[in-house]
């Protein structure tokens, strides 16, 4: 294999991509916060219509990596990124790319539910409105209902759509945030520890939701809980100290990891 030319490698990789239906792809991504390097040349492929879990001990760079995927790191002044990230083979760090469009296509759900201090309805309607996906009240109503329904929240809140979203319980808030994210019909949804602020019952609801969403969306999820990664994801990537240690099918990672670090981590020997 060593004798293969670079071009050949390229070709092989890109055919592989086709084959495996790669939605997003990071190549040699390094991230610096000021002087501090948080990621070291990460290469990772994110398959379409699947759930990819990112695991690893605290501070290993999972969130940092995820935020590279929709350029949320742009909002941090000190942050600098090296390397390529592509979405459908298109470089998202290309200056010609519009980050507003990018973020509409790559939605995000955060660790702590962060509904806007507005009504439930307005929370969901906000995205479609700014992107002009809805033209009138009726379309908005439809989108809001559809999104809330898919997030499994509609039944619970349909009588109080115009009450503040901040008045919901933690699990409901998180599902509201998911509804908000899917309302703009993104292609990818990034979730950064979406359940860590939730109780077990709410967690279960959200996990079930992720399961359903997978059919239409590509999902990347950061989690601290090995169990959760095992339950919801098809592929898992293990980070450590800013490096991608191992990436494989979730089953494989949890049964037969190649890297000793991964082994130690999933058996709880460190972290």
């Amino acid at each position: 294999m060593n004798i293969m030319s670079d071009a050949a490698v390229e070709a092989r990789l890109s055919t592989q991509e086709e084959e495996r239906d790669i939605k997003m792809r990071a190549r040699g991504v390094s991230v610096f916060y000021g002087q501090k390097q948080a990621l070291f040349g990460v290469d990772l492929e994110i398959p379409r219509h699947a759930v990819m879990a990112l695991i690893g001990p605290s501070g290993c760079g999972k969130s940092t990596f995820m935020r590279c995927l929709n350029r949320m790191n742009d909002t941090i002044d000190s942050c600098r990124i090296v390397g390529d990230v592509t979405l459908d083979a298109e470089d998202i760090y290309d200056p010609a790319i519009d980050v507003v469009e990018l973020r509409a296509r790559v939605g995000m759900v955060f660790q702590k539910p962060n509904p806007f201090p507005k009504s439930i309805y307005e929370n969901v309607a906000y995205g479609p409105r700014i992107h002009g996906l809805v033209r009138n009240r009726q379309e908005t109503d439809e989108v809001v209902e559809r999104s809330l329904t898919r997030a499994g929240l509609f039944k619970e809140v349909k009588d109080r759509l115009h009450e503040p979203g901040t008045g919901l319980s933690g699990g409901q808030q998180q599902r509201l945030c998911i509804a908000r994210a899917i309302a703009v019909s993104p292609e990818v949804i990034l979730m950064d520890e979406p359940c860590s602020a939730l109780d077990p019952i709410a967690t279960a609801t959200v996990e079930e939701l992720i399961h359903e969403l997978r059919e239409n969306f590509t999902i990347v999820i950061v989690t601290h809980s090995m169990q959760q990664a095992a339950r919801v994801s098809q592929r898992t990537a293990m980070f450590h100290l800013g490096n991608l240690v191992e990436e494989a099918d979730t089953d494989k990672i949890f049964t037969n990891p190649e890297d000793p670090l991964t082994q130690d981590y999933i058996t709880g020997r460190f972290g």
Binding site: G132, L133, R146
Partner: protein, 435 residues
């Protein structure tokens, strides 16, 4: 159930991909970015408006005021040795004639009428200026000394180009005769325009050429001193009590609301309080810096309490617990740790509060600190003005020279404010702590 929702909205299937790349979307994004830039422009416009106003304000002041920082003077040589002055009673000598004789020597052959015009070129207190210098330094009696005598206001204005000599004589305060004499003085090199130290070291005067801010500055100083001596300890003590000791009940709520409210009570109301209570009931003297200081301290107190409480609150619990943990009493925790840590903020808050008090006018008007007083006060119970009230008085004086002096006085006041704020900023940067 998700199926039913989808079915309910047949218009668009949920998976229908949004055409992000479409022209429509691109146009829309363009419009959105334009809106974004517009908002940014509004913000910038707001800032430019505010700063532009500030700049105009300051330049206008500087422009009208800068001329008051110099004063036209004429040098007059007086041979005091030739005068017969009783050295045991210098004050009582006939200084007016001494001065006039000396001036006459410059122009020995003026008629009586011309002479009268001539003397009016100099400030009418000229002989007192000569006398006071001699009183300060009796050695001058033994020789000939050159005195720099300020010119009377009309001539000063003329020298500064404020009087149009082409106007008919009855429309200006400077007579033709004076103009001629002035030209002669100028030609002899007797006229100069040195820096007007009198603006800082003279007290108020009816004569613009002599009027200065010494009285107002010392009045403001005494009032601020009183204000500081009262509001600083009381403010800190009250803040500590409310923040650290007071039980949280309706009464302390009441006090708290009260303090917050007092911080926003119009200053003129404090003036009315001072008028009715300090002057009316307690019978304290009118126009005294002490009363001014009292009123100002009542105004400053609430702000100071609020600032102090906020800074006490910002000292982390961990520090208190640490001290409590080694067995410090509550008072010790506060006086050994919390207060010292809060002090830089408290100091800057105090200075800023005092700076506000320095610029406050309305309450001082009501307690009579707008009197005319020609000597700086020697203490806190003597009548005096303060800087802002002096500005108010000067603004109301008919003499032309006071127009520039008013602006100059404002600049001096702003200078003091800037100084105080600079100290506050310095303190803040020097001692600011981040936890």
């Amino acid at each position: 159930m998700s199926q039913s929702a989808t079915a309910a909205a047949p218009g668009r299937s949920p998976q229908a991909p949004v055409l992000w790349k479409s022209q429509e979307m691109a146009d829309r994004r363009k419009a959105r970015y334009a809106a974004d830039r517009r908002l940014q422009m509004y913000g910038l416009a707001g800032i430019i408006f505010a700063l532009g106003f500030l700049a105009i304000l300051l330049t206008t002041l500087a422009f009208t005021g800068y001329k008051a920082f110099v004063q036209t003077t004429a040098s007059v040589e007086i041979n005091l040795a030739a005068q017969d002055i009783d050295r045991t009673d210098i004050r009582e000598a006939n200084w007016r004639s001494i001065f006039r004789d000396a001036v006459r020597q410059e122009f020995p052959d003026l008629s009586r009428a011309e002479e009268r015009e001539f003397f009016k070129i100099f400030t009418s207190s000229a002989h007192y200026l000569v006398r006071d210098r001699v009183l300060d330094n009796p050695a001058l009696l033994d020789g000939t000394t050159t005195f720099h005598i300020p010119l009377a206001d009309p001539l000063d204005q003329f020298a500064k180009g404020e009087v149009n000599p082409d106007l008919p004589e009855d429309q200006r305060r400077v007579s033709n005769a004076q103009l001629e004499l002035y030209e002669v003085l100028d030609a002899r090199g007797m006229i100069s325009q040195p820096f007007n130290w009198g603006l800082f070291f003279n007290a108020d005067s009816r004569f613009p050429e002599l009027a200065g801010l010494a009285g107002a500055i010392s009045g403001s100083f005494w009032a601020l001193l009183v204000c500081f001596l009262i509001s600083f300890p009381v403010g800190i003590a009250a803040a500590i009590y409310l923040e650290e000791f007071a039980p949280k009940n309706r009464w302390t709520d009441l006090i708290e609301i009260n303090i917050n409210n007092l911080a926003a009570v119009p200053s003129v109301v404090f003036g009315m309080l001072g008028l009715a209570v300090f002057l009316g009931w307690f019978g304290l003297p009118r126009s005294a810096p002490f009363v001014g200081g009292l009123v100002l301290s009542l105004m400053t107190l609430p702000t100071l309490i609020i600032v102090t409480r906020a800074s006490l609150k910002s000292v982390p619990m961990a520090i208190r617990e640490a001290a409590l943990g080694v067995g410090a009493s509550k008072h010790e925790v506060i006086f050994h740790h919390v207060l010292p840590l809060a002090m830089p903020t408290v100091m800057t808050g105090t200075i800023i509060g005092l700076a506000q008090a320095l610029g406050e006018t309305a309450p001082l008007l009501l307690i009579g600190m707008n009197a005319f007083i020609t000597s700086p006060p020697d203490g806190i119970f003597e009548a005096s003005t303060a800087l802002p009230t002096q500005i108010y008085i000067w603004a109301d004086s008919p003499e032309r020279g006071f127009v520039a002096r008013t602006s100059a006085a404002i600049l001096v006041l702003l200078g003091f404010l800037a100084l105080m704020n600079a100290i506050a900023i310095f303190l803040r940067q020097r001692f600011e702590r981040r936890w």
